[in-house]
Each structure stands twice: as C-alpha cells, then as structure tokens.
Symmetry: C2
Subunit: 195 residues, 2 copies
DNA sequence: GTCTATAGAAAGATAGAC
DNA sequence: GTCTATCTTTCTATAGAC
C-alpha cells in the first residue's frame, strides 16, 4: 500500500487538510494524532511538517478558511430589498452552506477551545462578523415593523444555534430531505420573528 | 502544598468528579490528562484509580449522571394541564437547569464522540427520552390546535438547540440577567410554535 | 518531495511500600 | 487511603539519507 517517494507537492497539501478535517470532525482535535493524519494521506509523519509548521496551525488554517469561505459565500449573494426576503435568503443560505460542509462546521463549533488565544481571536472575530450580518437583517425588520423581536442580539444567537443545530442530527439518508428540512425551518424562523 | 497521606475516601471521590468536570468542560476530555485531574484534587495519579477504573468511565459517569439528574428534575416538576403552560414550564426549566450546570451541559454536548459505543448508547437513550418529553408537549398542542408547528420532531430539535445554545454565550456578569434572557427566549419560543 | 529513524516529552495505568 | 516509582505506549517534532 505504502507509496515510496515521488513528487506530489501540488496535491499533498490539500489532501492533508482534507484528511485532518475528516479526522478532527470525527474524533476531535486533541484525540487525533499526526500519525493518524499521515496514515490517512498515506505518507509518513515527517512529511506533514513540510506543509504545516505544527498541528495547531493545521487546525487554525481549517477553521479560519471555513469562516472566510462562509463570509465570502454570503457576501457574494445578491442583496434583497425587504427584510423578510433577506431573512429567508439568510436562512436558506445558512442551512445549505453548512449541510454541504458538515466536517468544517462541526470543527468550527467544537474546537474553538483548542485554538491558542491569538488564533482564537481571529476566528471569533470572523464569527462575529457573520452574526452581525443576521442581526442587521433583524434590526431592519424591526425598524420597518415587519418583525416582532424582543431583542435582536438574542434572536440572532437563537436563530444561529437553531439553524446550525440541524448539522448535529441531519443524515442525508434519513426521513427528511435537505429541501424539506429547509422549508420546515424557514416556516419556524418566520414565526419566531413574528412575520 | 502536597498533602501526605490521610483518609478522605468519603470526599475524594466527589472531588475527583468535580475537578474532572471542570477540566473536561474547559479543555475537552481528550486534552485533559489524569495527572492534571490528580493535581487539581491535590492527590497523586495512582489515587484516581481507586475511584474510577479508567478515564473513559470517569467521563461516562459524569455524562450519565448529568442526563439522569436532568430527567429526574424534570419529572419531579408538577404537570400542567394546557400545552402552552407545559411548554412554558419546559422552557423555563430547561434554561434554568442548564445555566446552573454549565460544565455538565458543555460536556454532554461536546464529548459524545469520546464515549465508547456501549456508553454512547446509554447516554443517547437518556437524551432521547428528554427530547421525547418536549415532543409530547408539542404534539398535544398541535392536536388541541393551540400550536402551529409543521413537524413536531424538527421543532423539538430546533427548540432544544436554541435553548441550550444560551450556554455558549451567557455570562452571569454580562448585559442580561438569567431572568431577562428567560423571558426573552420564552417569548420567542411562543412565537415559534405559533401560540 | 518523501522517507527512515529517533529524540524527548508525556500519556494511561499498575505494583508495592507505608 | 494514599504515595512513590515505574512500565509501556504513544505523542509531537526534527535530522539526515535518498
């Protein structure tokens, strides 16, 4: 099985990141060894250190790029005019984006405490920006009278927890399709904001 | 600092469990060593093994007792007649109970994957029973026409994720008191179920 | 660019003294 | 009931051969 020597610099890096993501999501950062990652990529341990200075940086890169990809994807969507349309947009986007990236999402919610302070600050800041996007929608809906929300910050946290929670139980071979789940959650979100 | 010999069998066990809970919640099960736990309790490593056969069992005991305590506390509450009152009861109970047990709650949501299959099944079953309690309330509310909920199972998962999510950001010295948060969330829950 | 080999630290768990 | 000492395994990370 073991491949012996050869040049793969252009693909080994991404494969290491992908394998690390899968393993971190399944077993947790602290429980996964560099040997396991190397084994999954079918290289020796030492090879990993050509692509990352250490294990912590590997985790940080995964989490930062997950959050940056999330923000980029959101900002690339066309902006709606009405707060209700914006909220629907956000809701559908959030569910689809996260269900398509289950490993990255799981890591981003579970491994915050394993980031060193400096790295934690970067990821927390990115997450804050995403939360601010939802809160801005809620605020505009409250201002325009379309939403009835007692506290936009709490509603933001409630909605994100509720929507991201789908990832903890959703199975693509389960009772409900992604589309069906999305419709159901959107109708609950609409009721929650009093629209 | 180090205490040398002495009889404390009646208190050392609970102190080990408490110290383990704090450390597991803060750093994660896999990242905490038995030496760290021993150090926090101010005993030597070997002593821990008089109170637990191994590290896995220590985690399992914490998680199982957390879930059993949750169920016991819920079943000891007086039952309400109307679904809306039952839901309010559940909502207030859930928030208060979990905010008073932040470490245990954190562990129960983060460390499921670190339980060995047999232990995982026990904890998952207990959690399922708790979810069933909420779903029964939602079903009765839908049947009686007081609630408008498209799917009681999804609403159950949505509500529990939303309510438990409070634990991830709540700080007792923050902007909002526990009471204020509870009122705000209850009003959002009421809207979510269309009551 | 990847390998083999290993240094050095730390982990879980146990044996036997007191 | 607790400690000291240690066995055995595993870990992250590095050095140098190919």
């Amino acid at each position: 099985m073991a491949r012996r020597s050869g040049s793969h610099s252009n693909i080994t890096g991404p494969r290491i990141r992908e394998a690390a993501a899968v393993l971190f999501a399944r077993d947790g950062y602290a429980a996964v060894s560099m040997r396991q990652i190397a084994s999954a990529v079918d290289v020796q341990v030492g090879t990993l250190y050509l692509y990352t200075p250490d294990k912590q940086t590997l985790l940080f890169d995964l989490m930062r790029s997950h959050m940056e990809e999330l923000l980029d994807a959101w900002f690339s969507l066309p902006k709606m005019k009405l707060p209700l349309d914006q909220l629907e947009n956000f809701c559908r986007f959030h569910i689809a984006h996260h269900l398509e990236r289950m490993d990255g999402t799981f890591i981003s919610y579970m491994e915050l405490r394993n980031l060193e302070p400096q790295n934690h600050a970067v990821v927390a800041d990115l997450r804050g920006r995403y939360e601010d996007e939802l809160e801005a929608i809620l605020k505009s809906g409250v201002t325009s009278g379309q939403f009835t929300v007692p506290d936009t910050r709490l509603a933001t946290m409630a909605l994100i927890a509720m929507l991201t929670g789908i990832n903890t139980w959703f199975r693509s071979d389960g009772r409900l399709s992604c589309e069906r789940v999305t419709e159901t959650y959107w109708s609950m979100v609409r009721q929650l904001v009093g629209a």
